[in-house]
Symmetry: C2
Subunit: 487 residues, 2 copies
């Protein structure tokens, strides 16, 4: 319906005046590259893509959307895994890739101000010679944008010790859905007024667009040691993780890979660090002062041994350390070799529930008849089961999505969460009622309306809607592919 009344020609002209012809994409064959993010099973083209370069341009673009009441979706590098940057069929996609400037490096106060299109690793690169680093490190860090990290509150392998993105964002310049520009947070850790930084980070583009982001950077640890322990069972590895935390040690990261993942990784990258017959390997990174790290590593080794580790190795040099990590970082890619497709789930559970939940996932795997490789941020209880399937076989995608849903429900049942670090986006909105009561969701919805009364900022994401939930999750996509208008 909207297509009949929305004056796209006038809108295109208005947007071109703001960003110039080089900042506009409208031809369908060019829009193609923007039709999905990392959740490639959902695809749709926006009407227009704009690539602004400044806060002022974003504000003007958003004012045009507000004026015509058309949806806008922000997109960074498009590496998100929950479809948060899936375009709106009748909307504008605002891409931040030309907003790629590091605006300020303040070494004295350990902060860096960036535009949202700056790539995650560039932040560390900007300060590494000064002995500083930016802690959040999603696996996609060499390509993902800081703006996208803010939208999804991204984590990484080191978030056990250092926290997720929200713990490192000090302040933001935000273009509200009205086009007004506000400053939220401050360079100080705590300020007066409502903590809008916490609300904004992780709001998945539904409250506005961050156009300048002040990040905290930390002193590079004096020493880093990586330990690799192998266990005959994944349970023993899981209990070890709890025991290390209980001993008062917070490693920078603790990652578990199961036997299926180990063999996939060894097939592909041949690290030769991971014993192929292990039930699980546990990778532990300990960092800090040179005076404390060897002592901590020693205690970690003892705890591993007490839990029956067959072997615990400390990487002898940087090369070996990187090799140990290489396997973990290649795990998703390696899973691609095990099967034509895989579906990554992202759930969180209390650490102490790890052994039980892994058993249940195993039972679900057998019940549904799909193999599941387990690779996860064990310290945080953040699971990433990789369900292996073949999209070419009719029915498999749907079955695997159902299986993934059962895993999420299991996480909620043990007091966990339906998302650890990938967000809700398009993918998981139907699971929100598993975690939140109607009153909880209504409170969040009314907060959203406070920011966005016209509901034009990334609509149809995060919140469950009767239109899409309760039907098959993909019906919207299939209808769109069939050319059916969805309004």
């Amino acid at each position: 319906m909207l297509t009949q009344v929305t004056p796209w020609q006038a809108i295109t002209t208005a947007l071109t005046e703001i960003v110039g012809a080089e900042g506009i994409v409208t031809r369908s064959e060019e829009l193609f590259v923007y039709e999905c993010d990392g959740l490639a099973s959902y695809r749709q083209q926006p009407k227009i893509v704009v690539l602004p370069t400044s806060t002022e341009q974003v504000a003007e673009v958003v004012k045009v959307c507000d004026h015509y009441r058309i949806p806008f979706v922000a997109r960074g590098s498009g590496t998100g895994l929950s479809g948060g940057a899936l375009p709106h069929l009748e909307g504008v996609l605002i891409v931040t890739s030309r907003m790629n400037q590091v605006l300020e490096v303040d070494l004295e106060n350990q902060r860096v101000v960036v535009q949202p299109g700056v790539i995650n690793t560039w932040v560390t690169q900007a300060v590494t010679n000064q002995g500083l680093f930016y802690a959040p490190d999603p696996s996609s860090q060499i390509i993902c944008s800081v703006g996208g990290n803010v939208a999804e509150n991204s984590g990484g392998v080191h978030c056990l010790k250092y926290g997720v993105t929200t713990n490192h964002v000090l302040g933001l310049t935000v273009v509200l859905p009205s086009g007004d520009v506000i400053q939220i947070g401050s360079a100080l850790p705590e300020g007066p007024g409502y903590d809008l930084t916490g609300v904004f980070v992780g709001s998945e583009g539904t409250l506005g667009i961050a156009t300048e982001i002040t990040l905290r950077v930390l002193p590079t640890p004096e020493m880093i040691q990586v330990l690799l322990a192998d266990f005959t069972t994944i349970d023993a590895a899981a209990v070890t993780v709890s025991d290390i935390i209980k001993a008062g040690i917070i490693p920078a990261g603790m990652e578990i890979m199961d036997n299926l993942s180990i063999n996939a990784v060894e097939d592909v990258v041949a690290t030769q660090c991971y014993p192929r017959d292990a039930g699980a390997v546990l990778l532990i990174e300990v960092d800090g002062l040179a005076a404390e790290v060897p002592y901590l590593s020693q205690r970690v080794m003892e705890i591993c041994s007490q839990n029956g580790a067959r072997q615990v190795r400390i990487a002898e040099d940087v090369t070996e350390r990187l090799k140990m990590w290489q396997g973990r970082k290649a795990a998703f890619a390696a899973a691609g070799r095990l099967s034509p497709n895989y579906f990554v789930q992202d759930g969180v559970i209390p650490r102490t529930q790890l052994p039980y939940v892994l058993q249940e996932i195993n039972a679900l795997s057998e019940q549904y008849g799909y193999k599941i490789a387990n690779v996860f941020h064990a310290g945080d209880g953040n699971l990433h089961p990789l369900i292996l399937y073949n999209e070419a076989i009719p029915g498999q995608l749907e079955a695997v999505e159902e299986l993934g849903g059962e895993i999420l429900k299991l996480c909620v049942r043990v007091g966990g969460s339906i998302s650890g670090e990938h967000g809700i986006g398009s993918d998981k909105k139907c699971f929100m009622p598993e975690m939140f009561s109607p009153a909880d969701l209504e409170m969040m919805a009314s907060l959203r309306r406070a920011f966005d009364p016209k509901l034009i900022a990334n609509p149809d994401k995060v919140f469950p809607t009767p239109k899409t939930c309760g039907e098959a999750a993909h019906s919207q996509r299939f209808l769109a592919q069939a050319g059916v208008e969805l309004f």
Copy 2:
């Protein structure tokens, strides 16, 4: 005006049915004790005080307020320093002191669930035998309530390393201003949906009342060492603080006391730790594993010496350590001996601006002719200048408030904040425009309306209103004392 139309008799009956006669206070001579919190220069009596015991009772009480559209204010122990719990002349004061149960101790997952009236130190007491502690430690910790800590996002001397209250609240049961009950946050560090925990903590009672609070507790550090360094100038102490952080060391706390404070403390508690001729003393607490603490202390000592410390002492045993802290903890009380009254200010500045700001405070002190004792959380840049005056002398309170205001504006000018840990409350709302633009404040106000569309939850606090700002800050109080109705 409202007094003529509000059916207080019916309201009293309804509230008595909910909480019982023993949970209601309406006689003026009994209401007297509730007429102010720790900011005793603002005083007014509520119409009714209710003391509920459960979430259900709070929800029912709030529903009555919602039904009659009358304001309610929540109060814990009443130790707040910004007038956040100042009652509303035409409202209900909801006091949480009977909600004093520790509801759950979950050692495995290191969390404790409490009612809001539980006293801060009780949390640590509930887990201390298990080697755990609750980190936020306001100076009033033996009397202040966890509910009040949540409302004001309280800090303490250890928040440099451990963060403030918001970093330790995992989840909340909240009675909204409608009387609806929602769950926000979760026992997990990060969950999906908007981060309402961050918004709620520090919202000073304007978004609802927390009735169950899930707190994170931490393993007690294996070793604690306290160092006391004395300097001939406060500047040297301030530069030392920055240098310690720059060296990658995060002590549990770093506190500075100036010469005036040192002498006041020695007069009163005679610790004999603080040299009376020092320009400033710097107290540093280092904690962690037994393997790292002595090494860290050594490095801290070196940095102190490099900055010209005359002497650096490490407390030899627990007795000496507590003695060193005793002086700092008695500083506010000791200031009471220097002068009939003192006015505590609470501002934050970037750590690197400490020397400049202390100089400027000194200049303001001379300009206004009032002595200022400086005692502060130096590691966080959180200043607590104590302005000494005599309330009995007409004009002194007003002059001192003006001087306090100048200090706040100074903090904002150097990139700081008008409040570190005491909140805005009644005291500082007129300074909010110093920090926030009209668009920033409007966004916060619209968030407030999303929670509280009738504006009955602690109204007239936090946000500047033309009615009270722009006039003398105390006119409302003086009018009230004169018996003038303020509606």
